[in-house]
């Protein structure tokens, strides 16, 4: 695929035709923003794949150019290459690296597509996690209730046996548990 336009002093003009498709799929995806979740995601991912394919083909062109440069250099064996030819080879390796940077830009585009439309699934998963954390917190609270039951049992036992000296301590315990229950605000003990 290496062309004979090696001496082209402005390699950017060669590569200019690789840049417009970078923005094109972006616009397509933007048009699909109001799609339902799954469809928008499929759209984004198919756009992403197009951009990755494009980037891969730019890498391929750079690889071919690199091969061609190495062949040219190898053709000289141990003979010293004239300076003019060396300058040409260096201009070509510059072209190759510029091509690779365009491929990098396309990969960055593709990566941006991947996270497009991920906000919803992420939010839902965070909400679910928060809900589970709240459940865990409530398990903790129910644990306090068990303690409360213990206090009540003590109280009941004391009253049943007429041991009124124990009632004060038992009541105090119950009040403590009640206070604990009230101070446990939603999310205050959620593990994050």
């Amino acid at each position: 695929m290496a062309t004979s336009s090696h001496s082209n002093p402005d390699p950017a003009s060669d590569d200019a035709n690789t840049t417009p498709p970078v923005t094109m799929p972006r616009q397509q995806a933007a048009a699909g923003e109001h799609d339902v979740d799954g469809a928008a995601r499929t759209n984004a991912l198919s756009n992403m794949q197009c951009v990755v394919d494009l980037a891969d083909s730019v890498v391929c062109i750079a690889d071919d150019l690199h091969e061609r440069i190495l062949q040219e250099i190898a053709g000289y064996n141990d003979r010293t290459m004239p300076d003019a030819q060396k300058a040409l080879m260096r201009a070509l390796t510059d072209d190759e690296r510029l091509l690779r940077q365009y491929a990098h830009a396309l990969y960055a585009d593709a990566a941006e597509f991947v996270i497009r439309d991920l906000r919803e699934p992420q939010h839902r998963l965070m909400a679910l996690t928060a809900e589970a954390a709240e459940k865990i917190r409530r398990i903790g609270v129910i644990g306090e209730v068990t303690g409360l039951v213990g206090g009540i049992l003590l109280l009941v036992g004391s009253i049943a046996r007429g041991q009124f000296s124990q009632v004060g301590a038992a009541l105090e315990k119950i009040q403590l548990h009640n206070a604990t229950l009230k101070t446990l605000k939603p999310g205050s003990t959620a593990k994050t």
């Binding site: 390699p11 991912l45 992403m48 990755v52 891969d56 890498v59 750079a62 690199h66 440069i69 190495l70 250099i73 141990d78 290459m81 060396k86 080879m89 390796t93 510059d94 190759e96 690296r97 510029l98 690779r100 940077q101 990098h104 830009a105 990969y107 960055a108 593709a110 990566a111 941006e112 991947v114 996270i115 991920l118 699934p121 992420q122 998963l125 679910l128 996690t129 589970a132 459940k135 865990i136 398990i139 903790g140 209730v145 068990t146 303690g147 039951v149 213990g150 009540i152 049992l153 003590l154 109280l155 009941v156 036992g157 009253i159 049943a160 046996r161 041991q163 124990q166 593990k191 994050t192």
Partner: protein, 279 residues
């Protein structure tokens, strides 16, 4: 008053149906192994820092394009990492919820038992102590076992689709990181492959030697990192599969077959983690 208290206790107990023990140990181990996996965050950072490594090898013209791409990589880095953070948080919470002993209130029950025993000495009958302790144990079991199991079930069922979407995104991103890394390797090593054969003047000898040493080191570096992309992808695929299987087998979580299957995923994830951390 004593009657009101008894009614309250009765209500508390009536709300709790009896249930069998369900083991969530494998679910917890799977969630823990998923949290510990590693790889993705490190490779995301490596992707973000591509320009830093590449810039010495770039021509001014390529450098201009590279700087622009660098700014874009940095702009989305937090979003890339947020996906993983969401997943880690989800798995940590799942692990907490599936934790067998985490909410075991037996210590508390024992305290209660001790308290009641003291009461026995002062008149409460042994059978009362046994009854109260038994009732509290039932309450605890319902809280710690059935309730948690139901929550784990809800979480896995409701979370699975989004978990799959996020892991899929992480796998796709890791593939893009891998491609970008390959492109970077060719940029860096390619320069030396072209320049070294052209530098054959006597005065170039020292420079060529240094360049060869540098090339050797860089080749080794890329060879090491190459493996990590594949390992990270394998690990993420295992997490996705394991969660999917857990979702499908939620109703028979205690079966030997399901537990064995989940243990298999845990084993594989640990092997991948060891390979990732063993470099």
């Amino acid at each position: 008053m004593a009657r009101r208290v008894l009614v309250l206790v009765g209500l508390l107990v009536a709300g709790c149906a009896s249930t069998g023990q369900v083991s969530l140990g494998e679910v917890r181990e799977f969630a823990d192994a998923s949290v510990r996996l590693g790889g993705y965050a490190e490779l995301s950072r490596r992707y973000r820092d591509t320009y830093e490594r590449e810039s010495p090898y770039l021509s001014p013209q390529a450098e201009r394009v590279a700087r622009d791409t660098d700014a874009r990589r940095r702009a989305v880095f937090d979003d890339f990492v947020a996906i993983q953070k969401t997943l880690v948080l989800y798995m940590q919470t799942l692990s907490l919820l599936a934790g067998d002993g985490r909410y075991d209130l037996s210590g508390r029950i024992d305290d209660l038992g001790t308290g009641l025993k003291a009461m026995t000495d002062s008149g409460l009958q042994q059978r009362h102590v046994a009854a109260y302790t038994g009732m509290s144990r039932l309450l605890t079991r319902v809280i710690t076992s059935r309730y948690q199991n139901r929550s784990v079930d809800t979480m896995v069922r409701d979370g699975n689709a989004d978990v799959q979407t996020l892991i899929d995104a992480m796998i796709v991103l890791t593939r893009i990181y891998e491609k970008a890394n390959e492109n970077e390797r060719k940029t860096v090593l390619g320069l030396f492959n072209a320049e070294i054969p052209m530098a054959n003047r006597n005065t170039d000898r020292m420079l060529v030697t240094l360049a060869k040493v540098h090339l050797q080191n860089k080749t080794a570096e890329y060879k090491l990192i190459d493996r990590r992309y594949k390992l990270a992808q394998q690990g993420l695929t295992k997490v996705a599969l394991g969660h999917q299987k857990m979702r499908e087998n939620m109703d028979k979580l205690s079966s030997e077959e399901t537990r064995h299957m989940l243990a298999g995923y845990v084993h594989d994830l640990n092997l991948i983690r060891d390979a990732l951390s063993g470099e």
